[in-house]
Amino acid sequence: MTALQHKDVSPIAHLTPEDIEAIGRELDAIREDVLESRGQSDADYIRRLIAIQRSLELGSRAVLLISMFPPAWIAGTVGLSISKILENMEIGHNVMHGQWDWMRDPKIHSTTWEWDNASPADLWKHAHNELHHTYTNVLGKDHDLGYGLMRVDEEQPWSRAMLAQPLYNFLNMLVFEYGIAVYDLEIGKYLKGRKSKEEFSSGVKKVLRKVRRNALRDYVVHPLLSGPSAIPTLAANVTANVVRNIWTHSVIMCGHFPKGVETFTKQSIEGETRGEWYLRQMLGSANISGGPLLHIMTGNLSYQIEHHLFPDLPSNRYQEVAPKVQALFEKYGLTYVTGSMPHQVASAWAKIIRLSVPSTDQSYLRELDELEQRKPVAA
């Protein structure tokens, strides 16, 4: 099915088409179990979390009103950073995935949610839910593979500009929310003429409006409200945004870039069955291991594999399905890629650095080998 076949050892060579469909059925059954038991306690979970996050934000912003006192600055900045991370990850990302649409609460719904991020919800939902989640790790289709800037897979062609990709990645990390917004505008698609001018410029307008509003809030209104503490409050807001950017960037790198994650060719997904789609999600994602706090702070993207298999199941349930999913990997001899946060972040960075230089092309090497062998012994 795959670019996997380019690899020396295909990780799915041992699976028959029947196996693949059987995997699909088992995953459907896991999904079904969650749907059947989904109810009040899940609804209570997301409402409680939203209340906690909003209270934390209000509290932190209140403390920052006197941020000229260093302890207030520290407490307020830590609180605001955590609040922004929760808002983007466990709440915003998951609500916009439709994970909570089943509650039929118009205030917690994918069609009405807007988040504290430069990318407006509708642009983000298109780029993320419709493209990335549908074409996960398909080379040339899933632009999350290096965001069109970087080479994160051996199969992607190298160009000289990529020598600087560790630097781009670092800068992108610092301003990640703007990076996402630019990415969601699909500039590449527009330049290639596959996106109309009207659509593109209306997107640009939406992004600018959103950026302006968020900047006004964080860098003007709250500092001014702090009176004599204006400068420290401004610094606190900048810090919280950067902390949130670094954190979300790191978590997201862990999802698809670490070692062991597979990619796929465009042809491989033509006529893909449900089982094959599931299999692609299984092989194309990586988890982060850790405790409950890590899971909440990553928006349960620490269960990236489970999230990609079941993007619309409530995130608080990934934890309980993970052992079942992992058992399935074992049963079918597949590798469940997981590791601690530092390990996965390092692995992703290592890949970005390694691929910034052209690969030692293995097929080329093999041809050389063959040539060597054919060479007359005494030339």
Binding site: D28, E32, L35, R38, G39, Q40, S41, D42, A43, D44, A51, R54, S55, L58, H97, G98, D101, W102, M103, R104, D105, K107, H109, S110, T111, E114, W115, D116, K125, H126, N129, E130, L131, H133, T134, K210, R213, N214, L216, R217, V221, H222, L225, R274, W277, P311, D312
Partner: protein, 359 residues
């Protein structure tokens, strides 16, 4: 002088609102106020103050609406949005209270077999719960001036809007006949109150116990109320009863004196497929229920949004205005009654009966 002060106050207020909005974007100041004052002016909610059992399968809920609630006219109804098992469901209920000085209102709910909302409200709702509240609505109310002679023909929980009218206006009504049907004497909602009024001579009450005596016919109604021709009449109950009364009044040419209220049918027709109406475009297609709404719509030339076309991206969500759909992946049925606007994914839902889509 006063004008200047009040307009500059208004200006100050508007400026404060703008600052608050700028400080809370992308949320609204309201989203934070909801944390502390969910029933403040401008919201549409109510807090449950008490649950008072009526019959074995019904109860009256006493509710305190948000500040600024518009007083109702007895006979009108409200829509309650209740979270049952985490899912917000909406139902209409008649108000059974007169307008009260303390601003509280009551609705009386009877458990409907398999009725998720009614069962929840009667059996599981707890004092302090907050529900969504919309209304009041409806023109099933007493006429003004009050009629000299009034007749109320009701059955089952069809008595609920009528009890509200009687509680509010009985003092002003000289001649009232109530013909009420219920399965047994014990099933008569507000039985004690109605019988007390009857024994005080304030109303004439005719109880019909259908388990023993069968359903009331229009012939019997004419015999029971010989001066039917002279009475302003209100009828409320199951469709069978209301249809019969409407038929009788039409035949006699008395329709202008008849007021009716029907119960909203809660269960949609379930089947293998059905006609799908795309309300905005005006297209209607006959679907056999084997293909998703998205495909049916596209084939009929309706512009529908979509993304993954496999149920994961939620790029295809539109409101189901009415009818039933079936999730092609697991067979789960989603039902909407008029006004519900349940949001559904068109790419994985196929019609499971006639349905109307807002697209």
């Amino acid at each position: 002088m006063r004008r200047t002060t009040s307009s500059s106050l208004g200006g100050l207020r508007a400026a404060l609102v703008r600052v608050a909005a700028a400080a809370t974007t992308p949320l609204l100041p309201d989203d934070y106020l909801d944390l502390v004052a969910p029933l403040r002016r401008g919201t549409h909610r109510a807090r449950l103050l008490a649950v008072v059992p009526e019959t074995s399968s019904s109860a009256t809920l006493v509710l305190r609406p948000s500040a600024g609630w518009t007083a109702h006219a007895p006979g009108q109804n409200v829509r309650l949005g209740v979270d049952v098992d985490g899912v917000r469901l909406w139902r209409s209920y008649s108000l059974t209270s007169p307008v009260r000085p303390d601003g509280s209102i009551t609705v009386t709910v009877s458990v409907v077999p398999d009725g998720a909302v009614s069962t929840h409200l009667v059996r599981a709702a707890e004092v302090g719960d907050i529900v969504e509240l919309e209304g009041p609505d409806g023109d099933f109310v007493l006429s003004s001036p009050l009629p000299q002679r009034a007749l109320f023909v009701t059955a089952g929980s069809g008595i609920t809007p009528v009890i509200g009218m009687l509680r509010a206006s009985l003092a002003g009504l000289d001649d009232v006949v109530v013909v009420h049907s219920a399965r047994t004497a014990d099933d008569v909602l507000f039985g004690r109150e109605l019988r007390a009024w009857a024994s005080d001579g304030r109303i004439r009450l005719v109880e019909r116990h259908t388990a023993a005596d069968g359903r009331l016919t229009t012939d019997e109604l004419e015999q029971l109320v010989p001066d039917l021709a002279d009475r302003e009449t209100w009828a409320c109950g199951p469709n069978g009863l209301v249809d019969a009364v409407v038929g009788l009044f039409e035949d006699r040419g008395w329709s202008h004196r008849l007021h009716v209220e029907r119960f909203r049918p809660v269960a949609a027709v379930l089947g293998e497929g059905g006609s799908v109406t795309f309300a905005r475009t005006g297209a209607t297609v006959d679907a056999d229920g084997s293909r998703p709404l998205l495909v049916e719509g596209e084939d009929a030339g309706v512009l529908l949004r979509s993304g993954c076309r496999m149920g994961i991206c939620y790029g295809c969500v539109v409101p189901l205005e009415e009818g039933a759909v079936r999730d092609v992946r697991d067979g789960a049925i989603t039902v909407a009654a008029p006004g519900d606007g349940v949001l559904i994914q068109t790419c994985i839902n196929a019609p499971a009966g006639p349905c109307v889509i807002d697209a």
